[in-house]
């Protein structure tokens, strides 16, 4: 705009100067970003590419699918187990996050809202490896959960059982990741324009209808980002399955660690890694489709 104006007043020289300034600014921008991009390229993209190469390279250097065949042959059960655990955890995380963030936004008892806001975030920054240890004690046969269930008469002492199997992994994942998604979701809900909510409430709409009809559609993007990030994070957590459920069937990360630490078999490990990348790509595609739709709508 300003370029056109100055161009009209003084045809040749100022126009090229403005353009040069714009170009200089763009180069400055790239120069500012370059170091950060280089770090990601060198220490992330490059090893990722090596993983892809390693998964397809035969011992003689040629192309092969044998590593994938072996990975699927040995670990098809674990692949299914991984998908089921991560999908179930993501679903539960979504439900918990929507319920808590929804109450934080629409709750009418200020004391309950304040208490909940204080309460839900405790596991937010607790590392997975600690969450694994915490659940190892809590969900064990002799853990606090069983003692409370027995003490309150919900189960018989004899039927107390250890939950350190797939259930333990799901509990640890949801315990650790739900606060993260809730934090994002509640933040997005808090910055919404409240007039629609108030209008609907004044017209007598119950809170669950306001939540699912008005609030949630507006923060769907944030929810999806949080869930996709959680989904992918859980796919590559090694410590929790290793600590809670290391025996077969277990998660693919445990198999990868075993192939490397014990057998130094990088080929099959890389094939397993690529399969988990494929799973993550499905999650990312989910997000990108949403992002593209949003960009088209804007």
């Amino acid at each position: 705009m300003s370029t056109e104006l100055t161009a009209g007043l003084a045809p040749v020289e100022p126009e090229s100067r403005a353009r040069r300034a714009a170009r200089a600014k763009r180069w400055a921008g790239f120069a500012l970003i370059a170091p950060a991009l280089a770090v990601v390229a060198l220490f992330f993209v490059l090893p990722l590419a090596l993983s892809a190469v390693g998964a397809f390279r035969a011992a003689d250097g040629g192309f092969t699918l044998a590593h994938f065949a072996k990975a699927v042959d040995l670990y098809s059960k674990d692949i299914g187990f991984t998908i089921a655990i991560v999908a179930l955890s993501t679903l539960l995380i979504a439900l918990v996050a929507i319920a808590i963030a929804g109450y934080l936004t629409l709750g009418e008892n200020p004391r309950a809202v304040a208490l909940l806001r204080w309460l839900y975030r405790w596991p937010l920054f607790i590392p997975f490896v600690v969450a694994g240890q915490v659940m190892r004690t809590f969900l064990a046969k002799n853990g606090l959960l069983n003692h409370v269930l027995i003490g309150s008469g919900i189960i018989e002492p004899l039927s107390a059982q250890s939950m350190l199997d797939w259930r333990g992994i799901v509990v640890a994942f949801v315990w650790k990741q739900a606060p993260f998604v809730t934090l994002l979701l509640a933040g997005a809900m808090a910055s919404l324009d409240r007039t629609h909510v108030e209008a609907a409430r004044n017209l007598g709409a119950p809170r669950w209808r306001v939540l699912f009809g008005i609030v949630l559609p507006q923060v769907r993007g944030t929810l999806l980002v949080g869930l996709v990030l959680s989904f992918v994070t859980m796919l590559s957590v090694l410590s929790v399955p290793l600590m809670i459920n290391p025996n077969s069937p277990t998660m693919m990360t445990v198999d990868v660690a075993y192939r490397i630490s014990t057998l130094a078999d990088y080929a099959v490990a890389n094939a397993l890694c690529l399969l988990s990348l494929l799973l993550a790509a499905m999650g990312a595609a989910f997000y990108l489709r949403h992002a593209v739709r949003k960009a088209e709508g804007a």
Partner: protein, 278 residues
């Protein structure tokens, strides 16, 4: 009609209040129960199967953890040192990048933002496995530098995204006013933009610090055999069946995590949070 309604309202709300209290209590148990169990283990001297609570409490294991020749203090030092180096390195590259993404109109801005998301949006295991192999060949395996580089590439998305959101949340008209009064771009950045974005940058620094402090998988592959951080020490103790040592180490790791959780919103205001990823 109205009178009946007014009188019955509190009565009708009674079950609702009870349900609400019960749900909050259940949530409190689910959140604090596991933590309480961990604390019990940290102070248990003896705890066998049928007994509900530890048979004896004491500090014997604490003495063992903090003994001068115990390796917990050494691991703690290693962890904190790695985390500090990771923060310095990440912010040094993230602040310019975040500023450029927020303020300069860059082509492919969305793609660049997504590129930084890669390390969080892609399972990390293949990266750790292969970078460990590369580092082994160039002599970075088992070194602090190697671990810092791995932590930084993973923490960078938080650093860049939050820094970019923090800069974007700064009111542009303030910068314009400074520039109109004759401040150079650098002076304007140093005296106006940077101080206003400081809380957000602080938040990103703390995020990166915590993420590095808590990182397990990358260190597990890249750090072996010489770099033992606190999470690795905890893992080894737990897998070795020593629940007391594992629980005490876990408590040490919990302190910064919970401390930050309690103050996070002081640094990360909702206006910045709303700009994350935009």
């Amino acid at each position: 009609m109205t009178a009946t309604y007014a009188r019955s309202a509190p009565l009708r709300q009674m079950p609702g209040a009870l349900v609400r209290a019960a749900l909050l209590a259940l949530l409190a148990f689910l959140i604090f129960g596991p933590l309480l169990n961990l604390v019990l283990w940290a102070f248990a001297e003896k705890w066998y199967f049928p007994s509900k609570l530890p048979l004896e409490y004491g500090f014997t294991f604490w003495q063992r953890v903090f003994a001068p020749r115990g390796n917990a203090l050494g691991s703690l030092g290693t962890s904190v040192w790695i985390a500090l180096l990771t923060v310095v390195f990440s912010l040094a590259v993230a602040i310019p990048a975040g500023y450029a993404l927020a303020r300069l109109r860059l082509p492919w801005r969305g793609a660049i933002l997504l590129a930084f998301l890669l390390p969080q949006a892609v399972p990390n295991l293949p990266v750790y496995v292969n970078i460990a192999q590369v580092f082994y060949q160039i002599g970075l395996a088992g070194t602090i530098t190697g671990v810092v580089l791995v932590h930084a590439s993973h923490g960078l998305v938080l650093a860049v995204w939050i820094a970019s959101a923090a800069f974007a949340a700064v009111d542009g008209s303030l910068e314009e006013a400074a520039r109109n009064m004759g401040a150079s771009p650098w002076t304007c950045f140093r005296t106006v933009t940077l101080p206003l974005a400081a809380p957000g940058l602080m938040a990103s620094a703390i995020f990166v610090f915590l993420e590095s402090l808590d990182e397990f998988t990358g260190t597990y592959f890249v750090g072996v055999p010489d770099v033992t951080t606190l999470p690795l020490l905890m893992f080894n103790a737990s897998m070795g069946g020593n629940y007391q040592i594992a629980s005490i180490t876990a408590l040490l790791l919990l302190v910064p995590s919970i401390g930050f959780m309690l103050v996070v919103e002081r640094f990360l205001k909702s206006d910045v949070l709303a700009m994350v990823g935009r």
